[in-house]
Symmetry: C2
Subunit: 353 residues, 2 copies
Amino acid sequence: MTAPILAGSFLTCPTPLAGDRVLLGHGSGGKLSAALLKERFLPHLANPALLRLGDAAVVPVEGAQIAISTDTFVVSPLEFPGGNIGTLAIHGTLNDLAMMGARPLYLSAGFVLEEGLPLDVLERVVEAMGRTSKATNVPLVTGDTKVVERGKADGLFINTTGVGLMDPGFQPAPDCARPGDVVLVSSPLGRHGMAIMAVREGLAFETTIESDTASLVPLVDTLRSALGNQLHVLRDPTRGGLASTLNEIAAASGVGIELDEPAIPVPSDVAAACEMLGLDPLYVANEGVLAAMVSESCLEAALTCLRAHPLGRSAVAIGRVVAQHPALVVLRTYLGGTRIVDLLPGDQLPRIC
Amino acid sequence: MTAPILAGSFLTCPTPLAGDRVLLGHGSGGKLSAALLKERFLPHLANPALLRLGDAAVVPVEGAQIAISTDTFVVSPLEFPGGNIGTLAIHGTLNDLAMMGARPLYLSAGFVLEEGLPLDVLERVVEAMGRTSKATNVPLVTGDTKVVERGKADGLFINTTGVGLMDPGFQPAPDCARPGDVVLVSSPLGRHGMAIMAVREGLAFETTIESDTASLVPLVDTLRSALGNQLHVLRDPTRGGLASTLNEIAAASGVGIELDEPAIPVPSDVAAACEMLGLDPLYVANEGVLAAMVSESCLEAALTCLRAHPLGRSAVAIGRVVAQHPALVVLRTYLGGTRIVDLLPGDQLPRIC
């Protein structure tokens, strides 16, 4: 199931020149995205809820705490092995709520349609959204549709926004990692991003790589029951992959993270596709993988409950949180060396969600 | 301030051919939009909250009732006299919440950026969103940014989704119009749509037509205090204009609506621009106008409190709700005749919000 990540051989992504226009790299989830947010958005929009910069905002309504999360999906192609933009739009927002510990309650959907989009493609996407919404038991309660002229969009973009209910006894957050915690992932890495790339580049392998798009809510429910507040951090490593997610957590918590390369699960077909395309699976998007940081004493309990669910049957520990080198993620390689796993300066893989 | 609407001279919009692809008219807010919703969306997504088809969904969270509203803004050009896509994106969603009687609490924003968008345009838009959010006292608590390749979007699209708190004692709804109610509007019609069109078509008039984009929350607050449940219906006639909004209300409430053409306020510059372009101001979008249906006994109270606010100083009664001709909107013209004011079959004015 796992294969070497070929550490170091991929660090060739050039730093885009700074300029006065939006670059593709601004959407990468890496350093350029962070700079755009910090320089162009936060100076005008800052408020306490926004500044927490989690997967969702946590805010009060009457006596309750709710979580609100928004995500726009611009994936190309619209349909791919394992799902389409509709399944992704439902799962993505549900997962963002779940990663904050919230129980998803309601979704909204905003569609931008390009003139000329085949109506049967639209209907397949909407059908998938309905099916996914029913399967996850979170209704889509309101929506909006806009149409733009041919050439002014790319078929179909979908924004989904979700509202969830927080549980006062369970509030994992990116700034709650503690030295001594163990880092887990619930399943092998890289399938969503490489499924998209394989279709886009016309690559054929012996097996078709399918997107892992899935709701992580059941895994979070089981972890909540088993671990409660011994579960410190939950994130789904989507855009920018596991590397970007762990960098954000290390920075937010002021801790270091050490990963064991041989322990990181990468399917052999994903590894082969990454090698052909010169991509690092640590930076490839996932849409059905959960990364968690838990107290070491809870490791077995966490793995046991994850592995009892089909989505988590390959759950595995891949590293640990340390007090050394705060805000740095370090990989102990197959060869016994170490390398820093940094945020990407620019874009490795645009428009995968 | 007012000018004849030249009834009947604009009913030349051709019915687009039905086909298997998305047409611009599907985004018009008229008959094609309604058909798309009914045929392609609702069969897959139907649930009780969605089927109410109001400006927002009203759903329970713990003991409270919240409203959720979503809207994607694709206006072209991004900047126009009186505002930009950012002010529109904040006002539009706040107004949708306010029209359900909800007090807006929080907003999310999802950005789709086209590669090559000048960063200073983006920053002006974000600055306007921050300013508008502060002025209306509704924080933008979470966001998302995606970037697509040059030619795959049109500069910038923004989705905003809002969450508001319902007041059990004040729940106006599109299906609550009753025969005997009076129809009011808070200010003159057509300024937003014609401001956009004037820029797009390079039209110059003696005065610049400015968009009326504004938060209607203060007007709703004053109406709530003065009228409570004697206020039956609230809507902001945006895409599709007053004509489309009143048609939706007439259909939802199973009532007829009669309008008095001489009473309908249309600024003379808007009327002139409409005449030049062959547009009917009844179908032109507004972004700072409120239409209300109130018990006749409350008419004076409603007009008094609206006129006490700068946004409502031209508030006026324009017609009445009748039991005859259910689901039809009828205009009593300057000449003493009547004509039916129907939903547009296709698109009069694309991408005004």
